[in-house]
């Protein structure tokens, strides 16, 4: 991807695609929530509603063959990196046509075609994997970059630390992108870190760290693009803290006892989608008609994705044992 010098909101094409990505994430997850609520989907789910600007802005700075590793809350990363909503939905509906043939579900969707090495059920599990993908890119001399999406909570894990330690020592082309949504499940990041900004931790690894507004596509894009450029040019890893908020509970079982309704409402007021729409209207990148068109397009697309996914055959049990090992 070439570097974008005009504001995203002012560029008709980019503004439309960014808005489309955010709406796709939002609508996809709303549909999931609905299906789940009606008992049509099983397992567990982690929704990123309210956080859409982070993957949207970040993936704008990435090429199709750049890598990402994702998390338990990974629908947004997956969509922003370019995955197909139908195959995602099929996965969640336990269909043979899903990205993982119904074996993985929400927590394991990967789309290697678009460089997504996978959601991960293990907090921080993807961090050293991203380091490895960056190492591989460097060794193969491909100029690919890896972005490790992870939460604030993930920074309590040894896996996070070790992934960053190796990347820093080897100056690998990797970006550690922390979506600080203020909580790791019920643990507030304010309590968990004795830090003003989580990016202050980056200096302890001798790598640059920056904190940005995670609800602002442009801010996320700018920081990611700078980090990606540095990485591609051999300048090593960067840590980015994108401050955002999850509107929904951690998962289905969350009673939201650890935070207040007021806090949730305050952040709902910072919804990244209307924020971006207003920016695009003001900057002239999009008209109201454009905005409506994007919204409608996504709604139609999603509806058909759900329908087609629903119609697909269920995952089949006949080759379970033979599917364990690659041949």
């Amino acid at each position: 991807m070439t570097i974008i010098n005009t504001p995203i909101a002012a560029n008709p094409e980019l503004a439309a695609s960014s808005l489309e990505t955010m709406w796709k994430i939002r609508r996809f997850e709303e549909a999931v929530e609905d299906l789940y609520g009606r008992g049509l989907m099983h397992g567990t789910m982690h929704l990123s509603i309210g956080q859409e600007a982070v993957p949207t802005g970040a993936c704008l700075a990435l090429n199709r063959d750049d890598y990402i590793t994702s998390t338990h809350r990974g629908h947004g990363h997956c969509i922003a990196k370019g995955a197909d909503m139908e195959r995602m939905m099929a996965e969640l509906l336990a269909k043979e046509t899903g990205y993982c043939r119904g074996r993985g579900g929400s927590m394991h969707i990967a789309d290697t075609e678009t460089g997504n090495l996978g959601a991960n059920g293990i907090v921080a599990g993807g961090v050293p994997i991203a380091t490895g993908a960056a190492l591989s890119a460097k060794m193969r001399g491909t100029k690919q970059v890896a972005v490790s999406f992870h939460g604030d909570g993930a920074m309590g894990e040894g896996a996070w630390h070790e992934g960053v330690v190796l990347a820093a020592m080897w100056q690998l082309p990797v970006v550690f992108l922390c979506e600080n949504n203020l909580y790791g499940m019920s643990m507030s990041s304010e309590k968990a870190f004795n830090l003003e900004k989580l990016s202050d931790r980056a200096r302890g690894y001798g790598i640059p760290g920056v904190t940005v507004d995670g609800n602002d596509v442009q801010a996320v894009y700018d920081a990611t693009q700078e980090a990606v450029d540095r990485a591609r040019n051999g300048g090593g890893p960067t840590f980015i803290e994108a401050k955002t908020y999850r509107w929904r509970g951690h998962s289905k079982s969350d009673k939201n006892l650890y935070r207040t309704r007021d806090e949730i409402d305050e952040w709902r007021g910072k919804d990244p989608i209307p924020l971006f729409e207003a920016q695009a209207l003001a900057a002239g990148g999009l008209t109201q008609a454009d905005i409506d068109a994007v919204r409608d397009k996504v709604r139609t697309e999603l509806r058909s994705a759900v329908q087609r996914a629903n119609a697909a055959p269920d995952a089949t049990a006949d080759d379970l044992l033979s599917a364990v090992y690659a041949r």
Binding site: R103, M107, I122, E157, L321
Partner: protein, 346 residues
């Protein structure tokens, strides 16, 4: 069977004299922790979201409101650190109960469990004890896929220095946990997600289920079914069905996997001459491999009328799709079929 069935619970019920109350497995665990904390200020709970959130499966519930955040300690997401902090606290006068949200994440903490907690007493020549309890739910059935559904008890049973229990009923969940808290050694308590909401009669008050003593919730002459965890209630349900078909099964629940009550196992095997081993964990090197080996090298060998039969999870990561998940681990009908084959063919 559905998870509401309480056959196992009632079968393992305490002696008629003891007062009991109906509670869920999860409440029974909480009750045990409440009792232990009331008695001994050294006992405390530490883990991710055990405080206000009440635990990933709601097991600690509202304990924090009764006991406060000092002793119901929310941690960062740092299983290795938490486990190590448990070891350090246990070595210095406390009796920590460490909760790991899913037993799969014991992988993160394996060094502190296997290389530290388990070995310190021996390795230091007996100078120190490590009286800690690790609670972690195992098992499949919730659609949480491969990284949240494993039955990893075999890892721990293999490590000298650990004790391992797997309560199958609400009463045992309480009684075994209280025994584990008393124990001067690190004890892994592998709970089961699907059991948390099942209920049964639970002895009231400061009761115990001793470590190292198997339960025999049913006796029959035709075969011995040895099962652990969620498979105990499935085995009991299967036994009912088998009985209707004229096959009488003994059902043994070891309860403590280490130290194992092999006496009870061998006795019942000798009585029936046929043995069916049932575990949810993957077949290869699951706990029942050891039970099989113990039987095959014992004097019960001479009493066997049939080869030892194992029924276990498929050797695969647990898949997400509900039908596939169900097909991955032994269900009641699988037990019925395996038992019937065993008795009819031999």
């Amino acid at each position: 069977m559905t998870i509401e069935t309480t056959a196992a619970q009632s079968a393992a019920a305490p002696a008629a004299s003891a007062e009991t109350a109906v509670m869920t497995y999860s409440e029974a665990i909480r009750d045990a922790m409440r009792i232990a904390m009331a008695k001994d200020p050294a006992v405390f709970i530490m883990g991710e979201d055990v405080g206000t959130y009440g635990g990933a499966f709601g097991v600690t519930g509202e304990l924090i409101n009764e006991i406060g955040p000092e002793r119901i300690r929310d941690t960062t997401i740092s299983e290795l650190g938490i486990m190590g902090a448990g070891v350090g606290a246990a070595m210095t006068g406390m009796r920590p109960i460490v909760e790991i949200q899913f037993s799969d994440f014991t992988a993160q903490a394996m060094d502190q469990i296997a290389n530290q907690a388990a070995k310190i007493h021996f390795m230091l020549g007996g100078a120190v004890n490590v009286p800690m309890v690790i609670r972690a739910p195992g098992g499949s059935g919730t659609g949480a896929a491969a990284q949240h559904s494993q039955s990893l008890e075999a890892w721990f049973v293999h490590i000298p220095g650990l004790k391992v229990v797997m309560p199958a009923t609400a009463d045992d969940a309480k009684g075994l946990l209280l025994s584990a808290i008393d124990d001067p050694n690190p004890v892994m308590v592998i709970e089961h997600k699907l059991l948390y909401k099942t209920s049964g009669d639970v002895r009231v008050g400061d009761i115990r289920t001793p470590l190292g003593v198997a339960a025999v919730p049913r006796e029959g002459k035709d075969l011995t079914i040895i099962a652990t965890g969620i498979e105990v209630s499935r085995a009991l349900e299967a036994a009912e069905i088998l009985a209707a078909d004229g096959i009488e099964a003994t059902v043994v629940d070891p309860r403590t996997l280490k130290p194992l009550d092999s006496g009870t196992i061998l006795r019942t095997v000798k009585e029936t001459g046929r043995v069916l081993l049932v575990q949810e964990a993957v077949r290869t090197l699951g706990f029942m491999s050891e039970v099989s080996a113990i039987i095959a090298e014992s004097d019960a060998f001479g009493y066997l009328r049939a080869p030892i039969k194992r029924l276990a999870g498929l050797d695969i990561p647990i898949p997400y799709a509900p039908k596939l998940e169900r097909a991955s681990v032994p269900q009641v009908e699988d037990i019925v079929k395996a038992a019937t084959d065993l008795v009819r063919e031999w």
